[in-house]
C-alpha cells in the first residue's frame, strides 16, 4: 500500500487530514488514485490560500462533501460489481471484532435517531421532545442500570473490541498498528463513532442546538451560537 507519510509528501496537518479522508475510499481505488488526489488537493489548497489567505470553512465543507459522496459512489460501484459477500470481506475487510462492535453500537445509534426525529417533529432541535421521552421511559431500555449499560458501557466496549486485533498482534515484529487501521477503515469508523457517541452523552443538547443554529444563522455568529447552546 502507498504510504504517503513515509514518502515525505505530507507537509502539514491539512495534508495529513486529507490522507485520513482518503481512507474512506476502497483500498484498491486509494492505491490507484490516492497520490494523484493528494496532489490535486494540495494544488486546490494552494490556490485557495493565494486567493483568500487561508482555506476556510467553504473550502473544507466542499472537500468533505465531495470526498464522502464520491467514496460512497465508489463503494456502491464495487458492491454492484462484486456482490455483498465479496465486498464485505475483501473490500471492507470486515472481521468478527467489527461485527460485535457494530452490534454493541446499534442500541445507542437507534436511540439517537429516535431522539433526533423527536426533536425535528417538535421543530426545536435544541431541546429533547418530552413526548418521545415519556414514551421511551416506559420501556426497559430507559431503566437504570440498563440505560447506563448501552449508553456508556456498550460504546466503550465497542471501541475496546475494535482495538483487540491491535493488542493481540502488537508483539509481532512485522505488525504495524497503523497499517491495520489503514486496511480496516471499518475499525476506524467504529472507534470514531464510539467516541462521538460517548461525547454525545455529555453534549446531547449542545450538538443539535449547534446544527440548528448554524443552519439558520450561518457561521458568522459562531461565538454567540456556542454560548447560547452551552445553556441549552
Amino acid at each position: 500500500m502507498i504510504n504517503l507519510i513515509e514518502d515525505g509528501m505530507l507537509e502539514d496537518k491539512a495534508d495529513r487530514f486529507y490522507e485520513l479522508l482518503l481512507l474512506l475510499y476502497p483500498e484498491a481505488y486509494r492505491n490507484r488514485f490516492g497520490v494523484e488526489m493528494l496532489y490535486t488537493f494540495q494544488d486546490m489548497r494552494a490556490e485557495e490560500q493565494t486567493k483568500h489567505g487561508n482555506a476556510g470553512i467553504d473550502f473544507w465543507s466542499s472537500i468533505l462533501i465531495d470526498t464522502v459522496l464520491s467514496a460512497l459512489h465508489e463503494h456502491g460501484d464495487i458492491l454492484r460489481k462484486e456482490g455483498m459477500k465479496k465486498y464485505l470481506h475483501q473490500t471492507l475487510k470486515l472481521n468478527n471484532y467489527n461485527l460485535i462492535s457494530l452490534i454493541l453500537l446499534l442500541p445507542f445509534l437507534l436511540m439517537g435517531c429516535i431522539d433526533f426525529a423527536g426533536r425535528i417533529l417538535q421543530g426545536d432541535l435544541g431541546h429533547y421532545n418530552p413526548a418521545t421521552y415519556a414514551a421511551l421511559s416506559q420501556t426497559p431500555l430507559y431503566w437504570y442500570p440498563i440505560l447506563f449499560t448501552w449508553v456508556i458501557l456498550f460504546p466503550i466496549l465497542a471501541v475496546v473490541i475494535s482495538l483487540v486485533p491491535l493488542a493481540i498482534n502488537s508483539k509481532k515484529s512485522s505488525w504495524s498498528g497503523i497499517t491495520y487501521l489503514r486496511q480496516n477503515p471499518v475499525s476506524v469508523v467504529i472507534i470514531t463513532v464510539g467516541i462521538l457517541l460517548l461525547a454525545a452523552v455529555k453534549l446531547h443538547d449542545f450538538l443539535p442546538c449547534m446544527v440548528h443554529s448554524i443552519s439558520l444563522q450561518g457561521f458568522g455568529k459562531l461565538p454567540t451560537i456556542i454560548s447560547l447552546c452551552r445553556k441549552a
Binding site: 490535486t40 464520491s70 467514496a71
Partner: protein, 123 residues
C-alpha cells in the same frame, strides 16, 4: 441480461462532467488539477469538480478506454489524453449538440434567459 455500458457506443449522452473533461482533453494532455481548472473555465463555473468527483470520472473513463494515462516529466503527476474511441465519442456528441443548436435556431427557440425570467415574474 447484462446492463448496457454507459459509453458502449457513440450515441449515448455523456454526463456534463464527462463531457467537459473530454472537452478539456481535446486539445492536449493534462493532469488532474489542470483538468479541474479547465472544466471550471470552459463551463463558466457551472461544473465544479472536487478531487473525488474528478478521479471517479477519470476511473470510469479509463475503464471505458476513452482516455489513457501518459508518462510525464514530473515523477508522480499523471497526465491523461483522449484515445481514438474518446475522440470519436466526443466528436459525435459535439455533432449531436450542433444538430440541436441548428434546429433550435431554425425554430427561433433562443431567447435571452433574463427576458424569460422577467416574463415569468410579471405573469
Amino acid at each position: 441480461m447484462s446492463k448496457p455500458k454507459a459509453f458502449s457506443n457513440a450515441n449515448v449522452s455523456l454526463t456534463p462532467q464527462i463531457f467537459y473533461i473530454l472537452l478539456s482533453l481535446a486539445t492536449k494532455a493534462r493532469h488532474g488539477y489542470d483538468i479541474m481548472k479547465q472544466v471550471e473555465n470552459d463551463s463558466q463555473g457551472n461544473v465544479k469538480l472536487g478531487p473525488g468527483t474528478l478521479y471517479g470520472a477519470i476511473k470510469r473513463m479509463l475503464e471505458e478506454k476513452l482516455i489513457v494515462a501518459v508518462d510525464s516529466d514530473e515523477t508522480r503527476r499523471k497526465y491523461y489524453k483522449l484515445t481514438e474511441k474518446g475522440k470519436t465519442i466526443f466528436s459525435s456528441e459535439l455533432q449531436r449538440y450542433n444538430g440541436a443548436v441548428t434546429l433550435a435556431k431554425k425554430r427561433n427557440l433562443f431567447t435571452d434567459p433574463k427576458t424569460v425570467k422577467a416574463g415569468l415574474t410579471h405573469d
